[in-house]
């Protein structure tokens, strides 16, 4: 194991970037197809980091607005469906149908209804994020052990209170998984919408530069997006781990078994 951690530190992103630079410098790859990191950085400075960050902000706003809305509605709906079989039977087919449609297909429809801009993108993100949140919330609440439910009931409290203080915490591991997947979807949908038709956002930037042939700038915008998506995912994982501190880890469970 010790030998491998040193291999791992060798193979760090830094080394990867250096390798990338070398490959292009040597001419192994045509710089027109894959610009080197230095070219990309130069392009980034040229087009104006502030402008790029502004666009990033626009994209992030859509991502989180849609995600937040989907989280609220999704967790509520998933919990309700898990506790009420009638509600489940009503919504399940509808959700199942939405599941089968590639969510980006809704974008043209939403543009038709809401025009190009923030609202259509946010609704698209909302629709895409809703499903994983509902499904995982549903499973999470449904899997709350009977014993826990009965215990909560005997300790008294309102139904709402029990849901808030027992069911949701118990289901939180699953809910977080659903949210993490939804985060990925959110970035995917907002970028898609921005690329298809939009006046702002990183997706639009990437697409526009691509169309215009300014490939160095295109890569620069893409790099910013990748960094943002990665950072968002990492931040999410840290928040999740903090919130789930009290949980016995899977490995501990397996050892006890």
């Amino acid at each position: 194991m010790r030998a491998h951690t040193s291999v791992r530190s060798l193979y760090s992103p830094v080394a990867l970037v250096v390798l990338w630079e070398l490959i292009v410098r040597i001419g192994l790859v045509d710089a027109a197809f894959l610009p080197s990191p230095t070219q990309i950085t130069r392009a980034f400075v040229e087009i104006g980091p502030l402008m790029v960050l502004e666009q990033l902000g626009a994209s992030l706003f859509r991502v989180f607005a849609g995600l937040f809305a989907a989280a609220l509605v999704g967790i509520a709906l998933g919990t309700w469906m898990a506790r009420n079989a009638h509600v489940d039977r009503f919504f399940a087919p509808i959700l199942g149908s939405i599941y089968s449609v590639p969510k980006s297909a809704f974008i043209p429809l939403l543009i038709l209804w809401l025009g190009v801009g923030n609202s259509s993108t946010i609704v698209a993100v909302f629709l895409a994020c809703l499903l994983p949140v509902v499904v995982y919330s549903f499973h999470g609440v449904q899997e709350v052990p009977r014993v826990l439910q009965w215990g909560a009931a005997t300790l008294g409290g309102t139904r709402g209170g029990i849901i808030w203080r027992v069911y949701l915490p118990a289901a939180s591991a699953q809910i977080f998984t659903g949210l993490r997947i939804a985060l990925g979807f959110a970035f995917f949908l907002s970028t898609s919408a921005e690329m298809i038709a939009s006046t702002s956002g990183l997706g639009k930037l990437i697409f526009a530069y691509g169309q215009g042939g300014n490939y160095d700038a295109m890569f620069a915008a893409l790099a910013v997006l990748v960094a943002a998506a990665f950072a968002a995912d990492q931040a999410f994982v840290r928040i999740r781990d903090r919130q789930l501190r009290w949980m016995p880890t899977q490995r501990a469970n397996q050892a006890a078994a």
Binding site: Y11, R89, A105, L109, L112, T191, M195, F207, L225, F230
Partner: protein
Amino acid sequence: MIGVHEQPPVPGWGASAIGTLRRFVLSYYSLGLLFVGWEVVTQLEIIRPAFLPSLSSVLRQFFLLAEDGSLVQPISTSLYRSATGLGIAVAIGATLGLAAARSELARVIWEPLVSIGFPLPKVAVIPILILWFGIYDNSKIALVVFTCVFPVAMSVEAAVAGLPTVIQWSARSLGASRSTLLRTVVLPAALPGLMAGIRVALPLALLATFTAEMVGGGGGFGASLMYAQRLFDAPTVFVYLLLMLLFGLLADRAFLFVRRRLVGWSDQL
């Protein structure tokens, strides 16, 4: 929860027709309500037909398009791209997953790629792929491969890494050499995991194809959908949406059928 991860139970040979019908109605009545409500709302012009064409007009448009054959090209193009991309992704992903599970070196190379590739919105690389491969089939196939490799590789890696040691030991004691072990034990045991990965990758393949076509053009379903939207042809837009829905459902059903044949022996089913 029915209809999301698993389709509603398929009735056995002995089920009565009435029972099946009843179960069907009970499971899907909300969809029925939705369709009825849709028709009513549009017929009464509560919502303008420019925004929401009536269900009947959508169906009419569907038959129109089906008859004059304008659906054939987009459908076959998109299906070809999805299927090819998925096939390549499975081949590459399964190999990568297997390697990552069996070789420490492979895993060290693989893990950073996954942690960056996973949260990356794959659609963002469409312009790059168009740059490299042009706007037609190859860039779409490339996107499908890029998108679908991850779930397949991750599932295979988990399956192979999770293979119980006692099974491998048993095989060795029964005379299996290292290479026989791979072929007769590791691969069959990893099959359910591979199927799980493909199940996730299947809708992703369709999604990647359609999105790439919507963003970059170059024919196919997505491009036709965008074209209809630009013409404000709401009925056609809806036709395409419903068709996409249909394909998603059919693909999943077909997959489940194949999966049952291949890994019916697994106790995960």
